[in-house]
C-alpha cells in the first residue's frame, strides 16, 4: 500500500505549508533585525571615516576602530563639515556620510549626475579631506575611505571588502598594506592627477619612496590589488576640481 506521505496531494500541500512557515519566520526575523543591522552599518561608516584620519584604537600591527559607543561622539567632534559635490556645486549635508557610493556610481552610469560626498576633519590643527571610494576585487565589491590633505597627499586610508580570499586579497584591510599609502601623492608636481598604483615591481617593499605613485602589492592578491589601484584612480579623480578650487581660494 502506498504510504500517506507518498501521495501527490500530500506532497504539494506539504510544500505549500513549508514555504509559508519558512517565509513567515524569515520575514519576521528580517523585519526585526533590519533596524539593528542598519544602525551597525551606520556606526561602521563613522568608524571607517574616523580611522583614516588617525582616530582609532590601533595596536601594534593591528587595525582597530574606536568603539561603537564612542563613534558618534568622536564623529561629531572631529568631522567639522560634511560636503556633497554635485555638478561642481558644493553643499553642506549633515548626512553626507550616509550617501551610498554604489548607488551614485550606478546613477553616473545611467548618465545622471553623481553626488560626491567629502568629509572635512580637523585634528591637532591638521585638516583632512576624506573621500569614499568603491570598486571591484576578485570575488566581489571592495571599498574604502581615503584621507588627504589639501594637496591630495594621502594621510590615511581604510579598505574593506565583501568576499576577498582570506590570507590573500582579504589582507587589503591589514595595516601593513594600508599604512603603506600614508604620504603617497595623488597629484604630480604640475598638479595633474596620477593616482596610486598597487605594484608588484616597485622594488620598495618597506615603501620608503613616497614620490613613486606606487605601493607594494600583496603576493597572491594581484586582482584585488589591481582593483584597489582602479578604484583610487577612478573615484578620487572626480575630486580633483574641488581641490583645485580649494587651492585657488587659499
Amino acid at each position: 500500500m502506498e504510504k500517506r506521505t507518498d501521495k501527490n496531494t500530500y506532497t504539494v500541500l506539504f510544500a505549500v505549508g513549508m514555504v509559508l512557515v519558512v517565509g513567515a519566520i524569515l520575514a519576521y526575523l528580517a523585519s526585526t533585525f533590519r533596524p539593528i543591522i542598519q544602525e551597525n552599518e551606520r556606526l561602521e561608516k563613522q568608524q571607517n571615516i574616523l580611522y583614516t584620519m588617525g582616530v582609532n584604537n590601533n595596536t601594534d600591527g593591528a587595525a582597530n576602530f574606536v568603539s561603537t559607543e564612542q563613534a558618534p561622539k568622536l564623529f561629531e567632534k572631529y568631522i567639522t563639515k560634511q560636503l556633497v559635490i554635485e555638478n561642481g556645486q558644493v553643499k553642506e549635508d549633515k548626512e553626507a556620510y550616509l550617501i551610498d557610493v554604489k548607488k551614485e556610481q550606478t546613477r553616473a552610469k545611467e548618465g545622471k549626475t553623481r553626488r560626491l560626498p567629502l568629509f572635512v576633519g580637523e585634528k591637532d590643527g591638521k585638516t583632512f579631506y576624506i573621500a569614499p571610494i568603491r570598486g571591484k576585487g576578485l570575488w566581489d565589491a571592495i571599498w574604502g575611505y581615503v584621507a588627504m590633505d589639501k594637496d591630495m597627499v594621502v594621510q590615511g586610508v581604510y579598505f574593506d571588502h565583501k568576499g576577498e580570499t582570506p590570507g590573500l586579497g582579504a589582507n587589503i584591510k591589514q595595516r601593513y598594506f594600508m599604512d603603506d599609502f600614508y604620504g603617497e601623492r595623488l597629484l604630480t608636481e604640475a598638479g595633474v592627477f596620477k593616482g596610486i598604483t598597487v605594484s608588484k615591481t616597485n622594488a620598495d617593499p618597506t615603501n620608503e619612496d613616497k614620490n613613486d605613485y606606487e605601493v607594494d602589492a600583496i603576493a597572491g592578491a594581484t586582482i584585488t590589488g589591481d582593483g584597489v589601484s582602479a578604484m583610487i584612480k577612478k573615484d578620487l579623480r572626480l575630486y580633483v576640481p574641488y581641490f583645485k578650487q580649494l587651492k585657488n581660494k587659499g
Binding site: 506539504f14 510544500a15 533585525f33 543591522i37 582570506p166
Partner: protein, 210 residues
C-alpha cells in the same frame, strides 16, 4: 548510553566526515588559509548541524519522500539565514570576518549527508548527538589544516606574528627563513588533508580499504 557516546566520538576519529567519508572537502579547501576563519566556520557548522539534525529528525515522519532533499535544503538554508542575520545584528564585526563563508555552509555536503543518512531515521536526541559529533569531526580537521596553512603560509596564528617579522627580518626570518606562499593556495589544503589521512590510516590499519 555507550552507544550514544559513540555518536559523538566516532566522527572525531575513525569515522571522520572529512578524512574517512571524504565529505565537506570543498569548504575545507576554501576557507582554511587562516586559523580564525577555520574556527568561526567550525562554530557556525556546529550550530547548523546540531539544530538542523534535530529539526529534520522531528519532521522525519511527515516529510514526503519525493521532495525530502528539497525540504532538507530549505531547513539548512533557513538556519543559515538565521545565523547570518543574528551575527549581523549582534556580532557585526564577526559577521564581517565571516563574509561569504556563512552562505557557504549551505553547500557543505556533510550537513545534507547527515540529514539524509541519520536524522531521517533516528530520534531527535540521537540526531542531535550525531550532528554535534560530525560537526566536531569536521572542526578538528579544519582547525588542524588552518593551523598549518596560516603558520607556514603567513608565519602568523590568529593574525599574531609567531615566527618574527618577514619585512623587518626578525626572528626566524633573520636566518633566511621565508613564508611558503603556496600554503595559502587551495591545492596545499588538499595536500595537508592528504597527509592527515595518511597519518590516520597508518596508525589504524583497519581503516585501509582493499
Amino acid at each position: 548510553m555507550a552507544k550514544d557516546s559513540k555518536l559523538i566520538l566516532d566522527p572525531l576519529t575513525d569515522n571522520n566526515p572529512i578524512t574517512i567519508q571524504v565529505l565537506g572537502i570543498c569548504s575545507a579547501l576554501a576557507i582554511t588559509a587562516e586559523l580564525e576563519a577555520s574556527i568561526v566556520m567550525s562554530i557556525s557548522v556546529l550550530f547548523v548541524m546540531g539544530v538542523g539534525n534535530v529539526v529534520i529528525s522531528l519532521m522525519r515522519n511527515i516529510i514526503p519522500s519525493k521532495i525530502r532533499i528539497i525540504v532538507q535544503l530549505i531547513v539548512v538554508a533557513t538556519l543559515v539565514i538565521i545565523v547570518d542575520q543574528v551575527l549581523k545584528a549582534y556580532a557585526y564585526e564577526l559577521s564581517k570576518t565571516l563574509g561569504a563563508f556563512v552562505g557557504l555552509i549551505i553547500t557543505n555536503c556533510i550537513i545534507m549527508g547527515r540529514f539524509e543518512a541519520f536524522a531521517l531515521g533516528n530520534g531527535p536526541w540521537r540526531s542531535f548527538l550525531d550532528g554535534i559529533g560530525n560537526a566536531l569531526g569536521y572542526a578538528i580537521i579544519l582547525i588542524i589544516v588552518g593551523f598549518f596553512r596560516e603558520l607556514l603560509g603567513s608565519g602568523t596564528l590568529l593574525g599574531i606574528q609567531i615566527l618574527g617579522d618577514p619585512v623587518a627580518k626578525t626572528g626566524l626570518y633573520a636566518y633566511g627563513y621565508e613564508n611558503n606562499g603556496f600554503m595559502l593556495l587551495s591545492p596545499m589544503a588538499l595536500i595537508v588533508v592528504g597527509i592527515i589521512i595518511w597519518v590516520q590510516r597508518s596508525r589504524n590499519r583497519a581503516l585501509i580499504e582493499d
